[in-house]
C-alpha cells in the first residue's frame, strides 16, 4: 500500500490547480454556512444573555395613569411573576450647537437601586443617586452621536417645563436595543434619545406622583400569556389601559426577531448552491481522473488489489480535497462570522457580543460537506468497480461523435471546422456541458444578489419618499390639538405649505386576527402625503372607509378590499366600529392604515383636531423654523425627510457593502472554480487533438480558439439563464425577508445585470488565460508518441 500512497500524493500534486479550485468552492460553502450560523447563534446568545442578565420583561402595559396601589392587583394575577411600574414620558431635548429638533423618551428608574425588570447596563459613569433630582443616564448610542459624556449638561422640556439635567452615566436596556422614535421608520441616534431618570424626579415633572403610566412584568413558568393579558386589560380599563402586549410585539424585540428570522431564512440558500457546484466539480474531476488512469486501475486490479482498496484510494484523494475545504471553510467562516456579527451588533446596538462558533455547527457543516464529496465521487467509484482488468488494458475506441443540432439546422456551412469541433465537443457530453453552464449561471445569479439590496432599497426610498411621503418636515404634537396649530405653523417664516394629519393608535380586527397600528388620517386631495397603488398610481382617500397597505391586509389580517374591518380606537372615547376596507395600497415601508381626517374625527368625537402636520419648508429658513419648534412645548416630534433617508443609509450601508463583498467573492470562487476546472478537464481531454493540430501547422492562437472558444461559448450561453436565475434568486430573497418594517420589491437595475455578467466574464477570462499558458507548453512529440 505504500506505493499507492505515493501515487495518491502524486495525483494530488498533478491535480493541484483543480483540487485547489474545488477546495475553494467547498470552503466557500462551509464558510458561508458557518458565517451565517455563527452570526445567528452569536446574536441569539448575546441577546438572550443580555435579556436574562438585565431581566427583560415579558409583558408590556402602557396606560394613561394608575395609582401605584393598582400594581398590587397586577401582582395577584395568576401566572404573573414580577411586576415593575414606572413613568415614561416623551420629551424634547435641547442640544447646544445642534440646530435640528431632538426628541426622546425618558423612563423612570428607582431613586435607589436597580429596577426589578428591564435593568440598565452602564457603559460609562454611574447610576443616579438618591436625592439628586437632576441626574440622568442617557443611551450609549445617543451619547455617541453627540459626543456627550458623564458630567455634561442637557436641557430638556418635559410636560412643557424646561429643565437642566446632568448626565451621570451612559448605557442601555434590553427594551431599547433598537431605538425607534414613534413615527420614525429607521433609527436616528442623533435626533432621538433614550433617557433614564429617577422615579421621584420624573413623577414630579410629569405629574405622576404616586402613580405610574407603564407597567412591565414577567410570567411564571407555565402561565397562560393571553389569559394574563386579558386580566391586565380588565383591571386597567378604568385607568386608561390601551392594551397590554407580549414581548413578541415589543418594538425593539420584534425588530431583532424579524431580522434574525431573515438571517436564518437566507443561511441555507447559499451553502446549498456551493455544495451543489462542488459536488459537480468533484464528479467531473474524478471521473476524468479515473478515465485517464483506467490502465493503471486495471493493472492494480490485475495485481490483486481489490475493488475496495482501489476505490478507497480514489476516495482518499477526494477526502483530502474535502477535508482541506472543510478546514479552510471553518477558518474563513469563523473570520467572516466575526465580521458579520460585528456588523449586526452595531446595527442592532447590542451592548456586547458573545461570539460563538458552536462545535455542533462545525460538525453539521463537515458532515454535509463530506456527504457532498461522497455524492460527487459515487459515479467514479462505481466505474472503478465495474472496470474489468482485461478490458481496461485495451485502448478505448475513439468516441462516437455526432453532428450537432445547430449544424443540422443548416448552419453547418457557416461554421469553420474548429467551430464545429467546439460545438460537437459540447454536444458530445451534454450533461457535463449543461452542468458547467449551470455552475456559471449560479455564479452570475449570486453576483446579482450582491447588488440587489442596494437597487431595491434605492427604489423603495424613491417610491416612499418621492411619491408618498413627500414632506420636508413632519411635526407631531403631544396630544390632539385644534387645527389652529397648523395655521400657526404655516404662518412661520419659511413654511410654504402645510397639511394636517391625525395619527391615533388603534387595534384592527378581522375574524380571529388583530393588529395594532397607528391610523393615519389626512385630508382628501392632500399633495404632500399621498397613497399609491402597486402601479404607482395615486389612490384617493375614501370619504368613509379605511385604506390599508397590502402587507397589513393580506399578510397580517387576511382581509381584502370590500370587507368590513373592526376598528378599535385606543384614544379618547375609544370607539369600536366596523369600517369597510375601500382600497389596498402598496407600501414597501411600514404597516399603515389610512382614513379621511373628518371621518376619523367624527368617529372619535373629540372635535376637529389634528395630531401633527406635514410641511413644505424653505431650506433657507430651516434653522429659524427648528428654533421655533424647539420652543413650542406641544411639539414633541419632528421628522426631517432627508434626514430619515440618511438614517436609512447609515443603518443599511455597511451591511449592504459587506454582503456585496461576500457575494462577489463567493461568486468569483464559483465562476473560477467552474471555468477553470472545465478548462483543465477539456485540456486533458483535448491535448492530443490540439497537439495534432499544432503538428498540422495550426498556431498557438488558432488552437487556443478551440479550447477557449469552448469555454467562452459555455460562459456566454450561461449568461441568459444566469441573469434569469439571479432575478429568481433575488425574488426569493425578496419574498423571504418581507416583514412589518419593510417589504422588498424585486428591483434590479440594468447596471446590476451588467455587473454580474462582467465579473463572470472576467473571472472566466482569467481562468481561461491560466489554462492558455499550459496550452503554450503543450509537448507535441510526447503527446503523439502515446496512444489515447
Amino acid at each position: 500500500m505504500r506505493a499507492l500512497h505515493h501515487k495518491l500524493w502524486r495525483d494530488l500534486w498533478q491535480l493541484r490547480g483543480q483540487s485547489l479550485a474545488i477546495t475553494a468552492v467547498l470552503a466557500s460553502g462551509v464558510a458561508c454556512y458557518l458565517m451565517f450560523m455563527s452570526t445567528l447563534d452569536s446574536l441569539l446568545l448575546s441577546r438572550d444573555l443580555y435579556y436574562s442578565e438585565n431581566r427583560f420583561a415579558e409583558i408590556f402595559v402602557p396606560i394613561k395613569r394608575a395609582p401605584e396601589s393598582v400594581a398590587r392587583r397586577l401582582r395577584m394575577i395568576d401566572g404573573v411573576d414580577k411586576v415593575d411600574t414606572r413613568v415614561m414620558a416623551p420629551l424634547t431635548i435641547d442640544i447646544e450647537g445642534f440646530r435640528e429638533p431632538v426628541v426622546g423618551t425618558v423612563t423612570s428608574i428607582p431613586d435607589h437601586g436597580e429596577p426589578l425588570l428591564n435593568r440598565l447596563y452602564l457603559r460609562a459613569g454611574r447610576s443616579i443617586e438618591q436625592g439628586h433630582n437632576d441626574e440622568i443616564i442617557i443611551s450609549e448610542a445617543f451619547a455617541k452621536a453627540h459626543a456627550m459624556n458623564p458630567g455634561d449638561r442637557l436641557g430638556v422640556i418635559i410636560n412643557g417645563k424646561r429643565k437642566q439635567l446632568r448626565i451621570v452615566g451612559t448605557g442601555g436596556s434590553p427594551e431599547f436595543i433598537h431605538q425607534l422614535r414613534p413615527g420614525g421608520m429607521f433609527p436616528d441616534y442623533e435626533r432621538y434619545g433614550i433617557l433614564w431618570m429617577g422615579r421621584t424626579a420624573l413623577a414630579n415633572a410629569y405629574d405622576m406622583e404616586g402613580a405610574f403610566n407603564y407597567a412591565v412584568l414577567t410570567l411564571t413558568r407555565d402561565a397562560d400569556e393571553q389569559g394574563v393579558i386579558d386580566r391586565i386589560d380588565d383591571i386597567l380599563k378604568p385607568y386608561g389601559g390601551i392594551g397590554a402586549f407580549a414581548r413578541e410585539y415589543q418594538p425593539s424585540h420584534q425588530f431583532l426577531a424579524q431580522e434574525l428570522d431573515q438571517l436564518e431564512n437566507l443561511s441555507g440558500l447559499f451553502p446549498i448552491i456551493f455544495l451543489g457546484v462542488a459536488a459537480f466539480l468533484l464528479h467531473t474531476v474524478v471521473t476524468r481522473l479515473v478515465s485517464t488512469q483506467r490502465e493503471q486501475i486495471a493493472a492494480l486490479k490485475a495485481f490483486g488489489y481489490s475493488n475496495v482498496s482501489v476505490s478507497a484510494h480514489y476516495l482518499q484523494l477526494i477526502m483530502l480535497i474535502v477535508l482541506a475545504g472543510i478546514v479552510l471553510g471553518i477558518a474563513a467562516g469563523a473570520w467572516l462570522g466575526t465580521l458579520l456579527s460585528a456588523i449586526y451588533v452595531e446595527y442592532f446596538r447590542l451592548p456586547f457580543l458573545r461570539f460563538e462558533l458552536h462545535p455542533l455547527r462545525i460538525a453539521q457543516a463537515s458532515v454535509i460537506t463530506i456527504i457532498t464529496g461522497l455524492l460527487g465521487t459515487l459515479a467514479a467509484v462505481r466505474a472503478i468497480a465495474r472496470l474489468k482488468p482485461a478490458e481496461a488494458m485495451r485502448p478505448v475506441a475513439p468516441a462516437r461523435y455526432h453532428t450537432t443540432l445547430i449544424e443540422e439546422l443548416g448552419f453547418q456551412r457557416l461554421l469553420s471546422t474548429p467551430t464545429r469541433m467546439i460545438l460537437r465537443n459540447l454536444g458530445h457530453k451534454p450533461v457535463k456541458s449543461l452542468m458547467s453552464i449551470l455552475g456559471i449561471a449560479l455564479a452570475v445569479g449570486m453576483l446579482m444578489t450582491g447588488r440587489f439590496q442596494e437597487n431595491t432599497i434605492n427604489y423603495m426610498m424613491d417610491v416612499h419618499y418621492g411619491l408618498s411621503q413627500r414632506e420636508d418636515l413632519a411635526v407631531g404634537f403631544s396630544e390632539a390639538t385644534s387645527r389652529r396649530a397648523l395655521t400657526e405653523l404655516e404662518s412661520l417664516r419659511g413654511v410654504d405649505y402645510g397639511e394636517p394629519v391625525r395619527n391615533v393608535p388603534a387595534r384592527l380586527r378581522y375574524q380571529h386576527r388583530e393588529y395594532r397600528v397607528y391610523i393615519s388620517a389626512f385630508e382628501p386631495g392632500a399633495i404632500i402625503k399621498r397613497l399609491v397603488d402597486s402601479d404607482l398610481n395615486i389612490v384617493e382617500l375614501p370619504g368613509d372607509g379605511i385604506v390599508l397597505n397590502d402587507y397589513l391586509a393580506r399578510e397580517i389580517l387576511h382581509i381584502e378590499s370590500g370587507q368590513p374591518l373592526t376598528v378599535e380606537i385606543l384614544e379618547g372615547s375609544m370607539p369600536i366600529r366596523q369600517i369597510p376596507v375601500t382600497a389596498l395600497i402598496r407600501q414597501d415601508l411600514g404597516v399603515g392604515a389610512y382614513m379621511d381626517l373628518d371621518a376619523l374625527n367624527r368617529l372619535i368625537g373629540d372635535g376637529d383636531v389634528i395630531s401633527g402636520a406635514y410641511l413644505y419648508i424653505d431650506e433657507k429658513y430651516a434653522d429659524e423654523i427648528y428654533r421655533h419648534l424647539k420652543e413650542r412645548p406641544r411639539v414633541v416630534g419632528s421628522v426631517i425627510r432627508t434626514q430619515e433617508i440618511e438614517n436609512f443609509h447609515r443603518t443599511m450601508d455597511e451591511s449592504m457593502l459587506f454582503w456585496t463583498f461576500v457575494a462577489t467573492l463567493f461568486a468569483v470562487v464559483i465562476a473560477v472554480g467552474v471555468v477553470y476546472n472545465s478548462a483543465r478537464i477539456t485540456l486533458t481531454e483535448r491535448s492530443r487533438e490540439l497537439a495534432s493540430l499544432r503538428v498540422l501547422g495550426y498556431t498557438r492562437g488558432e488552437i487556443s480558439y478551440i479550447l477557449l472558444g469552448e469555454l467562452a461559448l459555455l460562459t456566454l450561453v450561461a449568461m441568459p439563464p444566469g441573469l434569469w436565475f439571479g432575478r429568481a434568486l433575488c425574488g426569493y430573497i425578496a419574498s423571504s425577508i418581507g416583514n412589518e418594517m419593510y417589504r422588498v420589491p424585486l428591483v434590479l437595475e440594468p447596471a446590476t445585470y451588467a455587473f454580474a455578467a462582467l465579473v463572470v466574464l472576467v473571472a472566466s477570462a482569467v481562468s481561461a488565460l491560466l489554462v492558455r499558458r499550459r496550452l503554450d507548453a503543450l509537448d507535441l512529440i510526447e503527446v503523439l508518441k502515446t496512444k489515447d
Binding site: 475506441a397 475513439p398 468516441a399 462516437r400 461523435y401 455526432h402 469553420s416 471546422t417 474548429p418 464545429r420 469541433m421 460537437r424 465537443n425 458530445h428 492530443r688 487533438e689 497537439a691 495534432s692 493540430l693 499544432r694 503538428v695 498540422l696 501547422g697 495550426y698 498556431t699 498557438r700 488558432e702 507535441l780 512529440i781 503523439l784 508518441k785 502515446t786 496512444k787 489515447d788
Partner: protein, 244 residues
C-alpha cells in the same frame, strides 16, 4: 516496377543537415539521441529510414518536420533554417510545407473524414479539395464517417489524405503501418507511393519493417544516433510486390 530514376544526386536538394546532434537531459543522465548527422534528402525522392528501436529515427524525422530542434548542428529545408528556436517560424514551416503521418492516426474524433482533411485545407495556400485528397487514398465512400466508424487502415488513410491535401512539399511518416495488419499496411503504403509519384512529394518513411525498404529510392540506416549506411535501390518495388 516503377520507371523512375533512383539516382537523385543530380537533382535539387530539399533537406541538408550538418553535424546534427540531439541530447536529452534526463536528470543526471544525458541521452544522445543523435550524434552528428550529415545528410541530404532530394526533392521528390522516397526515403525509408531503418534502424533498431532507440536509434534516433523519430528524433531525426521530428527535426526535419520542424517539431523539434537539434541541440547542435544545422538543418535546412531549401532556404528555411530549421535549427531555429522560434516557434512561429517552425509553425509556419509545418503549415506551408510538411505533411505528417503517425503510427497512431491522431485524427480528431469529433470531425468526419472530410472535415479532418478540411482542417488542413482551410489553413493551406494551395490545397486540393478534401474530397480529392480522400479519393487519392480510395476513401471516396467514407467522406462523412466519423473516425469511430472507420477501421484502423481507413483511419490511417484519412490521416494520409489529411497530410497530403495541402500538396505538401514533404511527407514525413513515422511507422505509418505500425498498428496495421499486412494487407491494410499495403493499402496504406500504396497510398503513400501514389502521392509520391503523382504529386512529386519528397517522402520519408520510418519503419521497422525491412521489407518496406524495397519501395524506396534510398534506404538510410541509423544506429545509435549515427547514419550507419545509405543504400540506393536501383529499382523501386510497388508495395504489393513487397515480401513481408
Amino acid at each position: 516496377m516503377i520507371a523512375r530514376s533512383p539516382h537523385r544526386t543530380d537533382t535539387e536538394v530539399a533537406f541538408r543537415t550538418r553535424g546534427v546532434t540531439k541530447v536529452y537531459q534526463m536528470g543526471e543522465v544525458q541521452v544522445h539521441a543523435l550524434r552528428g548527422i550529415d545528410l541530404e534528402l532530394y526533392k521528390g525522392e522516397f526515403v525509408v529510414l531503418l534502424g533498431p528501436s532507440g536509434s534516433g529515427k523519430s528524433t531525426l524525422l521530428n527535426i526535419l518536420g520542424g517539431l523539434d530542434v537539434p541541440t547542435s548542428g544545422t538543418v535546412n529545408y531549401e532556404d528555411h533554417d530549421l535549427s531555429t528556436f522560434r516557434e512561429a517560424v517552425l509553425t509556419r514551416y509545418r503549415r506551408e510545407h510538411v505533411g505528417f503521418v503517425f503510427q497512431f492516426y491522431n485524427l480528431i474524433p469529433s470531425l468526419t473524414a472530410r472535415e479532418n482533411v478540411a482542417l488542413v485545407t482551410e489553413i493551406a495556400t494551395n490545397p486540393m479539395p478534401p474530397d480529392e485528397a480522400l479519393a487519392l487514398v480510395n476513401l471516396s465512400d467514407r467522406l462523412d464517417h466519423f473516425p469511430a466508424q472507420l477501421s484502423g487502415g481507413e483511419q490511417q488513410r484519412v490521416a494520409i489524405a489529411r497530410a497530403i491535401a495541402k500538396r505538401p512539399d514533404v511527407l514525413l511518416c513515422d511507422e505509418p503501418t505500425g498498428a496495421l495488419d499486412i494487407s491494410t499496411g499495403i493499402v496504406v503504403l500504396e497510398a503513400l507511393a501514389r502521392v509520391n509519384r503523382d504529386l512529386g512529394t519528397t517522402t520519408a518513411v520510418i519503419t521497422h519493417n525491412v521489407a518496406i525498404a524495397g519501395m524506396a529510392d534510398r534506404v538510410i540506416r541509423l544506429s545509435d544516433g549515427r547514419i550507419a549506411d545509405i543504400e540506393i535501390n536501383s529499382s523501386r518495388q510497388s508495395p504489393a510486390e513487397l515480401s513481408w
